[in-house]
Subunit: 312 residues, 2 copies
């Protein structure tokens, strides 16, 4: 039962990069039984633990529980998913060993489709989504730097009016130093985040791998960004949710204030890693088409992203 989240709650963090490493470490620091599933950093972290520098206070976990496969972890009460969406093809094999009948699954991943896939595979009622508004970087194996914010907007995949479980989960996290805001509609929140992610992560790639400051000063770029944002607004309206014009203005002005922010997809692109094309651009586009909403700007952007990635 989710009402019983306590220090005895067993948590598995799937994908211990920046996001999974930071939030998992916060839980472990507060005494929660956390096991980290990691691959490339396993050798280092199993010997040296995790070292976090954070605007909310630095800390070190010299010994952490970690495994390099899910079978060795076994069933837990809460699964935090933080790997890149490009690994979602392994959901069934990796998540199955971590589940008992009441295990809850919280995905902190980018974009659309993650909660849907998890719901289809493991049952909708145990699935939660968290949109992370946070600046975190993995500096080297086991070393994570948390530089800005940290808020998670948290929702349940299937929300019902009297359901308090999402609030209970939010409280559990908040009491352990993870700022949470519970949202009524997870789907609405996902699209609100995409208003920023689709254009900024996208154009940062198509412009050759640039930060937001460079991007915004490119000729005509702010207009292109706004046109994409308005398409996302139109899709969201077709789904019955509102995204206001002032929200779009706010996204633009906030980004001017962020200076040289490097969107995660741009970093993936320039470092030669897989880019989350499906979750951030392709899946939203499919939804628009299914709704009959014309999105020519998003189509052009996706085509340009694919071209860039193939030329890399």
């Amino acid at each position: 039962m989710i009402e019983e989240f306590t220090e005895k709650t067993k948590v598995a963090v799937v994908g211990t990069g920046a996001v999974g490493g930071y939030y998992g470490a916060r839980l472990a620091q507060s005494g929660v039984d956390v096991t980290f599933l990691m691959r490339s950093d396993y050798d280092y972290v199993s010997r040296h633990g995790l070292k976090i520098t954070s605007i909310h206070g630095d800390f070190e976990l010299p010994e952490v529980k970690c495994e390099n496969n899910a079978v060795n972890i076994g069933a837990v009460d809460l699964v935090l998913i933080a790997w890149k969406t490009t690994s979602n093809m392994y959901f069934q094999e990796v998540i199955s060993p971590l589940l008992h009948e009441d295990t809850k699954i919280l995905t902190l991943q980018n974009g659309l489709g993650n909660t849907d896939q998890l719901a289809q595979l493991f049952g909708a009622d145990r699935v939660y989504g968290g949109l992370c508004f946070v600046g975190i970087n993995r500096l080297s194996p086991g070393r994570i730097d948390h530089s800005t914010s940290g808020l998670i907007r948290l929702g349940k995949y299937v929300s019902e009016p009297d359901d308090v479980t999402v609030q209970v989960l939010g409280d559990f996290l908040a009491q352990r130093g993870i700022l949470c805001e519970v949202v009524e509609s997870l789907e609405h929140a996902q699209w609100m985040k995409l208003v920023w992610n689709i254009p900024f992560n996208g154009f940062a790639i198509t412009e050759g791998g640039v930060d937001t400051a460079v991007l915004l000063t490119r000729d005509g770029m702010e207009d292109r960004i706004r046109r994409v944002m308005h398409e996302v607004q139109t899709i969201t309206a077709a789904l019955g949710y509102e995204i206001s014009d002032s929200f779009i203005d706010h996204q633009i002005s906030v980004t001017w204030g962020m200076h040289a922010y490097r969107p995660s997809s741009m970093i993936d692109y320039v470092e030669g890693r897989a880019v989350e094309v499906e979750a951030i651009w392709s899946e939203p586009l499919q939804r628009a088409k299914a709704l009959g909403v014309p999105v020519p700007e998003m189509e052009t952007l996706l085509r340009e992203i694919r071209l860039r990635i193939n030329q890399r």
Copy 2:
């Protein structure tokens, strides 16, 4: 019991690219119960099946059993592993659901370390390795072209003098159109294949993504290739196996005769996919170091490969 391989033998092919697709299709064509585990090609192949063009006769399987996760396949009698070694981090999660007590595992993968990892995870006595000497390409989803040879050199991970199981497995495959040659020492056979793979796959990358014909005409290249081959020969000697000078001469002359052959790692490199660095170069180098065999040419080659990949 392996002696009982029959048409009732259930086979799972893990990684249905060119190699897995071709050999799996041969087994399915002959009536064996084969299920293909695939990810990116799943949607296409589950609707349209597999189409093989082959020097041993074209054929089509309009309907094949396929799944996009191992949990849905469940336990089988024989697992054929043909995914790239860069996915080996998922061995535990993906292979575990496919095993019953007597399941045998045959890896057809490149390089070193695969059989060792499988033995450690699932027990040494069920692990077999097959070295594929074959030209196969995946033309598009579900379309595979088999252009040259097809021989599998087959060995057991732990070989004992009176053990006939590897011969039984070889007969099972051979009777279904898959040419097999049983080897006494799998380890020896792995190193023999590396004599070619380490230099040719490697320099084809460091020279910018070229085929074997271009490679061999580059100034001083045949000498560098030979020096690497002699290092592999020395490592193998330290392990107690012989690789003769004439074997090396033969590798070079055969390759001159292959004209514009494109090594698999070179294709991975130019197409922006993960390169099997660990299995083909890094693991052999570690073994050399553990044995105290100096391999300066291999060290330089690995350094150059890493540099090339990072600049990609």
